[in-house]
């Protein structure tokens, strides 16, 4: 396990945002975190990425207990997070965005040729087919932008990639594109944490599934132990859906 939590918890004042959650991330495996809005998904990833500190349970990196002080601390341990808003500048070119904040240098100058070449190579290595690394990021589709952000995290040495709802704002086809890059990152040996509320996106690519509801774990399952139907029904809360269907029926 590169990253593991044991009975981890976090409270904000009197609100218990997260209680007793245990999960693991292995190299070359995808751990999906599923849950509805308010289930505690974002609190969990903020602990994993160093934004918040847990106040119960233990967090382990490479088997050793740690407390991540800041996002930079997490990054230095190889834990990179790609947020929904992506931290990209729409008017800047793909290669400028790719190296923003970590520009390669040549003497005093920004090594522009290297940046352009490496950005192109890295994107292609991830199978990302960007027409032209000189085009502004704003002209890319949502899925392409996610993919560039993933490729950037991989290039800058991430061992664990945390993806915050990367498919939620995308259409069916675009979501498929992003899922393919998640698989590609996994194949390169990264441990991936894939946060989503869509079991249909999670099931094909996931190896383990952590289900969250109202701040606590409904269990962590290996793929062999859970079917797509079971996952979907746990996620949706079948009883609630039936009730809703009943309520919405015409008189």
């Amino acid at each position: 396990m590169i990253l593991e939590t044991r009975g981890i918890g976090k409270s904000f004042g009197s609100v218990l945002a997260l209680r007793e959650v245990s999960m693991g991330v292995e190299p070359g495996r995808v751990t999906c975190v599923l849950g509805d809005n308010g289930a505690g998904k974002s609190t969990l990833i903020k602990i994993l990425s160093g934004v918040h500190q847990h106040d119960a349970g233990t967090l382990l990196v490479d088997g050793a207990e740690v407390r991540l002080a800041s996002p930079r601390d997490a990054l230095e341990r190889g834990i990179a997070t790609v947020y929904q808003d992506l931290a990209m500048i729409p008017l800047m070119s793909v290669w400028r965005n790719f190296f923003l904040g970590s520009e390669p240098r040549k003497g005093l100058a920004f090594d522009v040729r290297k940046a352009r070449r490496v950005a192109g190579e890295e994107l292609r290595a991830m199978g990302i087919d960007i027409r032209d690394v000189d085009q502004p990021v704003g002209t890319l589709s949502g899925g392409e932008r996610q993919s560039v952000a993933i490729a950037r995290a991989v290039y800058f040495g991430a061992r664990v990639l945390i993806l915050d709802e990367p498919t939620s704002a995308l259409g069916v086809k675009q979501a498929g594109v992003v899922l393919r890059y998640i698989a590609r990152a996994r194949d390169r040996g990264l441990g991936v944490v894939f946060i989503t509320h869509n079991p249909h996106h999670a099931y094909p690519v996931g190896d383990r599934f952590l289900l969250l509801n109202r701040g606590t774990s409904l269990g962590e399952y290996a793929k062999a132990d859970i079917s797509r139907e079971k996952l979907t029904s746990l996620m949706a809360g079948d009883a609630e859906l039936e009730e809703l269907a009943h309520e919405l029926e015409r008189e």
Binding site: R72, Y83, D85, L86, A87, M88, I89, P90, L91, M92, W95, R96, F99, L100, G101, S102, E103, R105, L108, A109, F110, V112, R113, R116, R117, A119, G120, E121, R124, R131, D132, V133, D134, Q135, P136, G138, T139, L140, S141
Partner: protein
């Protein structure tokens, strides 16, 4: 620019040379400059003579140095309304210290530089610490400097100007470097023109070929995102305000050395001309986009119109009309160009 990276992609054919040129921010300014030059050159023989060119390149140079600095600041997402009066403040400091307190001209210039950088630092610190719009913050410093310029000058001299720099120690040397002329092909050109070309070249290098340039585009394009990937946003912005202040000191010193006297109300109203030149040069008012070369060309358009109207014997009042018309045309053209260029997306 060609894509150094990548195998040939059949879809790249659609992003042809025309579109690649069009996506450049300075395109509108280049077209405008060509049209304005063609117009005045066809009407006036003096305008297209070497002497004429030297004549209209001069105002383009002093304006251009400021416009380039303001362009960098605007790409970084901020405004500086105090830059115009700051040229007056630095000029007044230079002349006052050299004539009334007997300082060497070089030393007086150094004091002016320190004061200018201090004003830039203050603007930058207030904007980055308080997150107030720089438009308001620098409007405040603009008014304060305007008051100081007039108040101090009146208190010291009883008039609204300081003069007599010619007699000060070190004047000839400083004048030769900042306000002299150089012979090119038998025609005397102001040395400020060379400084302007140098400033434009350096600014372009910084923007396109340095890490700082990447950061300037980033803090203007999306400050939050830039900070999230480790760009020192506050430091970048403060440096930009100080660069603008440095340019104001430079231009203020050039003008003071050239005319040997400074009016206390000089530079008021210039701040908008700098912004207009930068916008004609392709800068977006919202930041994150623009070019130093564009701003320099924007300044050329001004220089040509400023002097061209005189050469044609028109009333100089028409200059303002021309200014407004150019600004409107340039912003419209920039918007169209950007839309067309960004249609690349399929």
């Amino acid at each position: 620019m060609t894509a150094a990276a990548g195998r040939a992609d059949e879809r790249l054919a659609q992003v042809g040379l025309v579109r690649r040129l069009l996506i450049r921010p300075e395109l509108g300014a280049v077209v405008g400059a060509v049209v304005v030059f063609a117009f005045f050159a066809s009407q006036s023989a003096v305008f297209r003579s070497p002497e004429g060119i030297a004549n209209w390149l001069d105002p383009a140079a002093t304006l251009g140095i400021m416009a380039v600095a303001i362009a960098l600041l605007m790409i970084g997402g901020e405004f500086d309304l105090s830059a115009g009066v700051l040229t007056g403040t630095t000029g007044l400091i230079l002349v006052t210290l050299a004539t009334r307190y007997g300082l060497n001209v070089w030393l007086a210039m150094l004091v002016g530089l320190v004061v200018a950088l201090g004003v830039g630092l203050l603007n930058g610190l207030i904007v980055t610490r308080t997150r107030l719009p720089s438009f308001i913050v620098t409007l405040g410093t603009f008014l304060m400097l305007q008051g100081v310029n007039l108040g101090v000058t009146k208190a010291l001299t009883g008039t609204v100007q300081v003069s007599g720099l010619r007699r000060a120690e070190g004047y000839e040397g400083a004048r030769a470097i900042f306000a002299g002329t150089v012979q090119i092909g038998g025609t005397p050109f102001r040395v400020a023109i060379l400084w302007w070309l140098l400033v434009t070249a350096v600014a372009t290098w910084v923007l396109m070929r340095s890490r700082a340039g990447n950061w300037i585009f980033a803090v203007g394009g999306n400050e939050q995102a830039a900070r999230a990937v480790g760009v020192p946003a506050a430091r970048t912005k403060i440096a930009l305000f100080m660069t603008t202040a440095f340019a104001a000191w430079f231009v203020g010193s050039i003008l003071a050395l050239r005319y040997t006297s400074v009016q206390a109300n000089i530079g008021i109203g210039q701040e908008f001309i700098y912004i207009i030149a930068a916008v004609i040069g392709g800068c977006l008012l919202t930041g994150g986009y623009g070019s130093a070369i564009g701003a320099a060309i924007g300044a050329v358009i001004f220089g040509m119109a400023d002097k061209g109207i005189v050469f044609l014997g028109w009333d100089a009042d028409w200059f303002k009309f021309f200014l407004g018309a150019m600004l409107l045309l340039a912003t419209l053209a920039n918007r169209l160009v950007r839309r067309y260029a960004e249609e690349v997306k399929h």
